[in-house]
Amino acid sequence: MSDSPAANPRPVLDVERISIAFGGLKAVTDFTLQLPRGRLHGLIGPNGAGKTTVFNLLTGVYRPTSGAISLEGESLLGMRPSQRAAAGLARTFQNIRLFPDLTVLDNVRVACHLRTRHTLAGTLWRSSLAAGEELAIIERSRELLDILGLLHRERDDARNLPYGDQRRLEIARALATDPKVLLLDEPAAGMNPQEKIELRTMIRSIRDKFSLTILLIEHDMGVVMGLCERITVLDHGVTITEGTPEEVQKNPKVIEAYLGEPVALDAVAGGGGA
């Protein structure tokens, strides 16, 4: 609510009790989340818990049946996904959704397009503004590719990249929209242990470099526990608990959600994506 105490600054992303039902199935119920600037927040839960549905609600793919979403005080409800991206909400996808036939550079350049001011007439006439902006887009895109270590592949088709590079390219593309909040949907999926370690460093460094607020879904407990400052646990669309990694790990409800019965928590921490 808006009458939050002064000690708790206004959150960048404020999600108030959003719910969605598909027919009779309540996929997400009363999901609430407040992300202060710079937070690295995890969203975990067993398969089918509704994590990706939450992402789709936030980015506007689905319309919540009730609740409110606002980004820096601006309500996002009723906005199309593209407008939310323009407002500063960027995402990556669980099943990689690059533009496969476009080059690596062009994938990033597409996402730069919402910064541009030139009109369609400017495009067709190749006005001086359009030319300047196209050059700036190239410069910016290559900068981002360099940060994510993909610059040497800028001219390759996105489809020809190895899996880990494709994931990183998705992050580069999301960064190109100049987001305030970045939603990462299983960034570590399919990566080997070495890549996962690099990923953790990389996510932290982009958070600091671009002063981002990050919400990430992840099944890999090593990544989640080592990276996130706070974690929300979902099960069957309901928030079971929210807290620091240590609190979450100790919570018996979390263990129950993952394993069905109370056991030692080492099984959760070490067992990976269950």
């Binding site: 980015t59 793919v61 601006e74 199309r80 996904p81 593209s82 407008q83 991206a85 323009a86 407002a87 500063g88 960027a90 995402r91 996808f93 959704r97 690059l98 533009f99 496969p100 036939d101 476009l102 062009d106 350049r109 597409v110 996402a111 730069c112 397009h113 919402l114 910064r115 541009t116 001011r117 369609l120 495009t123 067709l124 006439w125 190749r126 006005s127 001086s128 503004l129 359009a130 030319a131 300047g132 902006e133 196209e134 050059l135 700036a136 887009i137 410069e139 910016r140 040497h152 592949r153 001219r155 390759d156 088709d157 020809n160 593309r173 999301a174 190109a176 929209t177 100049d178």
Partner: protein, 441 residues
């Protein structure tokens, strides 16, 4: 607005990178002048030296290029499947024809061709002025035809492009039929008495456009100049679109609509944009088609079969490739005519084949492939001629069958089209001993 949040650094950098005004103006304008100059040279210098049928062929090729390249912007760039391109052509053709025909009566008292040197394919009147007011009338009708088609494109596209999948195909097909039936159901009368026309109010003109019998008596304004100016313009617009933020947004929609939307591309708006631009050029092609020598504007000719002809060019050229569409438009316009009386191609064909094979070899991963392909085409051609001669068959009757077989073979052997999504100028030679793309690492 949210649109301009926090992009100040980017905008400052963009301003710093802006080319100086004069240079930018030069870069923007030179292709227009080049295109204008080429079209004038084509009309005034090259056409008189060409046989009449070759000039007519060149005219048809230009029109086909306008149609194929404009459809590429929809089907190729944004990946939407429109199969009603000929309907926009029909809208343009009838709007343009009405303006030219009845406008001529009002201005000159008859519907003869009154254009100067740049209009028309036959130098009948003497002496011809370089420019006449009738040329301006034709230019206005071209633009009016284009704008009318674009307006229709907006009306059809706005509701149907919100939907995904095959809906657009069905809607465009339906729109095509509506346009055709609407024109066919009009009165078959075309006014030709200056007094009657003078007495008929302007808004009644479209009614007297020949209906099912076709709009007869149209002056033949279309010339290599007009066709190739607009073919050049279409190519320029397509190319500038493709290599711009807007064009990349189009391609992103084709590649993955959900991801494009998530990256800030307002997909519906951009799909409508592409659709309207494409409809504009289809409308212009329609006006040019209506005023071409030997064409009798008839709604039956602009039905869905014509739409499919255009679609085949786009698919054959490679979805998303401008140069591919233009190339396919050229080949598919020449081929049916060539098949009427298949000429022997041994002497020239051999030379051209060898040159072409040599030119293509660096781009092919399998070095023998271009040479073998060309050899097979040359042999098939000669076998076809020899068989026809031995059996005493007139190939002209079977040309559409042969044409169809060629298309089927093409789709089996090269389903991605001649060039795929790439352009001719983007092809990179494959280095010996490795794949060009993979070898970079």
């Amino acid at each position: 607005m949210a649109q301009h949040r926090g992009h100040d650094a980017f905008h400052a950098r963009a301003n710093a990178l802006r080319p100086p005004f004069a240079l930018s103006l030069l870069r923007s304008a030179w292709p227009l002048f080049a295109c204008l100059a080429l079209a004038i040279v084509l009309q005034l210098v090259i056409r008189p030296m060409m046989p009449v049928f070759a000039a007519k062929m060149l005219l048809d090729i230009g029109t086909s290029i306008i149609l194929a390249v404009s459809l590429t912007m929809v089907n190729g760039f944004t990946g939407q499947f429109s199969i009603g391109h000929a309907a926009f052509m029909a809208v343009g053709a009838y709007v343009g024809a009405t303006i030219v025909y009845y406008g001529s009566f009002r201005l000159f008292g008859n519907a003869n061709m009154h254009g100067g040197l740049l209009s028309g394919m036959i130098d009948s009147r003497n002496p011809l002025p370089l420019f006449s007011w009738a040329d301006l009338l034709f230019l206005c009708s071209l633009l009016a035809g284009g704008l009318a088609a674009a307006a229709c494109g907006y009306v059809v596209g706005l509701p149907s492009l919100r939907l995904k999948g095959d809906y657009l195909a069905i809607v465009t097909l339906g729109f095509g039929e509506i346009v055709r039936v609407l024109i066919q159901s009009q009165t078959t009368e075309v006014l030709s008495n200056p007094q009657t026309i003078a007495a008929t109010p302007m808004y009644m003109w479209p009614k007297y456009s020949g209906g099912a019998l076709g709009f007869s008596g149209l002056p033949f304004y279309s010339s290599l100049f007009w066709v190739w100016v607009f073919a050049g313009l279409t190519l320029l617009v397509a190319a500038r679109l493709k290599y711009s933020s807007t064009g990349r947004a189009f391609l992103a929609i084709r590649e993955d609509e959900v991801a494009a939307e998530a990256m800030g591309v307002p997909t519906t708006k951009y799909k409508v944009r592409a659709f309207v631009i494409a409809a504009f050029f289809a409308g212009i092609a329609g006006v040019l088609f209506a005023h071409t020598v030997g064409v009798q504007l008839n709604p039956g000719e602009l039905g869905f079969l014509k739409s499919f002809d255009i679609l085949i060019m786009v698919v054959l050229g490679g979805l998303g490739s401008i140069s591919g569409a233009a190339l396919a438009a050229t080949i598919l316009t020449i081929l049916p005519e060539l098949l009427r009386q298949p000429p022997t191609i041994w002497p020239w064909g051999l030379i051209a084949g060898v040159v072409l094979a040599a030119a293509l070899t660096p781009f092919s991963e399998k070095r023998w492939k271009p040479a073998v392909t060309i050899a097979v085409i040359l042999i098939a051609w000669e076998v076809m001629r020899w068989t026809a001669r031995t059996l005493g068959v007139d190939l002209a009757g079977y040309r559409m069958v042969i044409y169809a077989i060629a298309l089927v073979l093409m789709m089996i052997l090269r389903p991605e089209g001649l060039l795929g999504i790439r352009e001719i100028w983007e092809l990179r030679p494959v280095r010996a001993g490795g794949r060009g793309k993979g070898a970079r690492r």
